[in-house]
Symmetry: C2
Amino acid sequence: MQSLEIIGLIAGACTTFSFVPQILKMWKSKSAKDISLGMYCIFSTGVILWVIYGAYINSLPLMIWNAVTLLFVLLIVYFKLRWK
Amino acid sequence: MQSLEIIGLIAGACTTFSFVPQILKMWKSKSAKDISLGMYCIFSTGVILWVIYGAYINSLPLMIWNAVTLLFVLLIVYFKLRWK
């Protein structure tokens, strides 16, 4: 694998899995007061569009990274609605 | 502009500007208790790598969207450190 591909892979892993600490924090504290619902709704919309864009240009990494991100982000939306 | 480019443009705008409502919420409440510092540190790293990746592949949109995102995300990190 070329160094360029590795950079793209690590970049995608970081921006996707960065949501895990936020999920764990909310899960432990059962609190979501400071979380912006607006942010995660807009972000979800963007991520869905990235999946569609990825499908159009036949980019499997773009589709997979964004699909996984969407799962994490929707979980944060659910926690926010549950714990306010 | 083709519909494909428009989808990519809206996707980028959503995932970049989604952080604005979070910034405004923190600014108004002066509170950041539920925000995960770990999330924003890992996300910043990812975004920096996307800028580098964008530079390598000569993708100006990738560089610009991620550079703007980085500004927003670093502001959230600053607020988090300031208001805990």
